[in-house]
């Protein structure tokens, strides 16, 4: 089945009309405060962009203002997720997609590294089991 993003519709913006609705700037201020809190107190925070009433162009404008930094990552778990540090150190974008490539969550995370990037204890325990099995160390 054809997906809606594959349908070739191009929205043309007449010259002089608005390309965003001014919602990016307040979020930039929220990010600024969150980054200050993280720097001073180590408090991590996360903003769910899908819960915000963005108008056309607002999300693009926010991502443009944030820019791209030094690190880009992809995570392959239940579909591909893209994670990148923005031009502002400590401000990350986490873009979760499902197996069909559709977005299921878009978050701004403020911290040293997004939480989902860390190896998880449950997976580490599982990894030890598999390693032992591979090395023939597993108890019968």
């Amino acid at each position: 089945m054809q997906r809606i993003q594959d349908i070739a519709i191009k929205v043309e913006t007449p010259e002089g009309t608005q390309t965003s609705h001014g919602n990016a700037l307040p979020i930039m201020h929220e990010i600024h405060h969150a980054l200050q809190r993280f720097s001073a107190e180590g408090e991590q925070s996360c903003i769910d962009l899908r819960s915000l009433p963005f108008g056309p162009g607002d999300e693009e404008e926010l991502l443009r203002l944030l820019g791209r930094g030094e690190i880009n990552m992809t995570m392959d778990a239940l579909g591909e997720s893209t994670i990148w540090e923005t031009a502002f150190s400590g401000v990350w974008v986490v873009d979760h997609r499902n197996a069909e490539g559709e977005r299921v969550a878009l978050q701004i995370e403020i911290g040293s590294v997004p939480q989902i990037v860390f190896s998880q204890q449950e997976d580490i325990v599982d990894a030890i089991d598999r390693l032992e099995e591979q090395l023939g160390l597993a108890s019968p």
Binding site: H21, S45, R50, P53, A77, L78, V104, A105, I116, E122
Partner: protein, 368 residues
Amino acid sequence: MADDRKKLSMTLGESLRQQGVSRRGFLKYCAATASMMALPPTMVPAIAQALEKARRPSVIWLSFQECTGCTESLTRSHSPSVENLIFDHISLDYHHTLQVASGDAAEAAREAAMHENEGKYIVVVDGSIPLANPGYSAIAGISNLQMLEETVAGAAAVVAVGSCAAFGGLPHANPNPTGAVSVGEIIKDKPVVNVSGCPPIPTVITGVLAHFLTFGSLPELDDLGRPMVFFGQSIHDRCYRRPFYDKGLFAETFDDEGARKGWCLFRLGCKGPMTYNACATAKWNQGTSWPVESGHGCLGCSEPDFWDAGGFYNALSIPDSDLTRKTGYVVGAGVALGAAAGALNRSTRAKAAAQHETVTIDDLDKKS
């Protein structure tokens, strides 16, 4: 069958691990679930902890006087793998449109699900229930009223999906020939959650089911029985065009300068100020857009009796002649005016319902 029973007894965490999903994958799933339930990302660890131990609840879906639009909305929802994951983890034991079984076998599946999950299953209803004559709508010779009462008797909770089940909807519209009523007018001894909309937003339907799966309880409800997280704020208060309303900038027709510049659609009949729903944030069609973003006012489809609330293209809230003067006060006091508009609207709607106003092609021509 034995596999199904085993799957039913497994927790969600066990089931996902068995499918080879890593902890990271699980946390991603929890992040998507939090977003779907309109909960803040800080809730993800709590959601992960709860979902880890959650067990698949049995769901019985009953369809009465309805158009199947609600099921269409759900099955064509924009994040199928998350929804599929949810449905992998509830046991949808009866649904006319989706189940393979028919006739006696279908009814036997419903009875078996009720018997095996006594006191724990969820009943989802779409469509209203005719009380004038049971013959107006019956399934397998059982009237809608009888099937509802019989099925709900052993349920943990009822979710009324769509404006027909929640408020009577189109069948209930004046003159209501079938004597259609909502689920809540019949069921008084079980919790009933109204997920209104014509159709409801798919992620709102799954969000309510996910809430029950995650926390084993129902979300907080408003005075019309709708989940506050999705229906707590009006379309108008969450609308990205709201700043234009506050500045008094309105589209007057569907092709004027205001319409092209994306100004407020209030004067073209937008029912945003009196409508409570999550369209402005959840959006439709893979998050592509929603009615106001595509240039058409809100119809108010998640509110009771929206069919009888007068013409969709009539700005009911404030008489046109007063609008310019009133918008003069709007800057900085938009919320107050929104509330006043809502109050005015209720009386106008009551009048419209009483007079059963209709819209003709000529009326539409006059507006455009």
